[in-house]
């Protein structure tokens, strides 16, 4: 007999059979008040005992859910740290990022020179990551913004293709 069916038999006995038998017996023991009250108490206690596994199950599920929430919160914190670290490489503000080296120093902030390198506009990455670290729903925000980055990447792919036709830049 499985654990599940054992439990249902236990619940069936404690919550249905015993209370019904006790109720029937009460009708035969109405003259003896003490015995009748004892039977009522037996029915009530039986129903309560039958509910114990359900209560334990609810408590166990609640404990597991809290544990899962705690693990999820820890993972989110960990992911935020990685987002923050990546932002250090992909932002357009710091002077030690690749964008700064290429656009500000190599291209002297000249957009035409930057375009000749056939690279995607890096500001897109900075914008995607801009507020990502502050939001709980990074996925939703990033998904929308990635669609915009996708446009930029398509642009860069076209530029890459043109590389074969403009050798040596």
């Amino acid at each position: 007999m499985s654990k599940e069916s054992k439990r249902s038999v236990f619940e069936w006995c404690t919550q249905v059979i015993i209370p019904i038998l006790a109720t029937i017996a009460i009708f035969f023991q109405l003259q003896q008040r003490t015995v009748a009250l004892s039977l009522v108490a037996l029915a009530v206690v039986s129903v309560l005992i039958g509910g114990v596994p359900q209560v334990l199950g609810i408590l166990r599920r609640r404990r597991l859910r809290k544990k899962e929430e705690s693990v999820a919160a820890t993972s989110l914190d960990s992911l935020k740290k990685w987002i923050h670290r990546f932002h250090q490489f992909a932002n357009t503000d710091n002077n030690n990022t690749l964008y700064s080296i290429i656009f500000s120093k190599l291209c002297q902030s000249n957009q035409a020179d930057f375009d000749r390198l056939l690279l995607p506009p890096l500001q897109l990455f900075g914008r995607v990551l801009g507020s990502a670290g502050e939001t709980q729903r990074f996925g939703d925000v990033t998904h929308r913004r990635l669609q915009r980055v996708g446009g930029g990447v398509q642009y860069s792919c076209r530029l890459f293709l043109s590389l074969f036709f403009v050798p040596g830049l």
Binding site: I102, K105, L106, R116, P120, V128, S156, L169
Partner: protein, 95 residues
């Protein structure tokens, strides 16, 4: 997680790797002069080292991640990113 991986992948594939493939070999002479004058080589090398370390750590983090914690599986290629290659050649500053 998947969205962030996509973002990192885009950055590696379409920005950082192409930069290290093109600079300095495929620069125009004018830009090559700027490259030498501004002494960008050490900065690019330094950036590559930092970024490569980040990618290595992040890939280790992804590999060690418990798949049960993810709402959706990441897929095989989500654990690998293009790492920028070392700069092609050392350009003579006299050029």
């Amino acid at each position: 997680m998947a969205e962030f991986n996509t973002l990192v992948g885009f950055f590696c594939r379409y920005f950082s790797s192409p930069v290290y493939e093109k600079v300095p070999l495929k620069l125009s002479p004018e830009m090559l002069q700027v490259y030498n004058y501004q002494r960008l080589e050490p900065e690019l090398i330094q950036f590559r080292e930092r970024f490569d370390r980040f990618l290595g750590d992040y890939m280790d983090f992804l590999n060690d991640l418990d798949p049960n914690l993810l709402s959706a599986p990441l897929g095989t290629f989500a654990y690998y990113f293009d790492r920028p290659k070392p700069l092609a050649v050392k350009v003579d500053p006299a050029i």
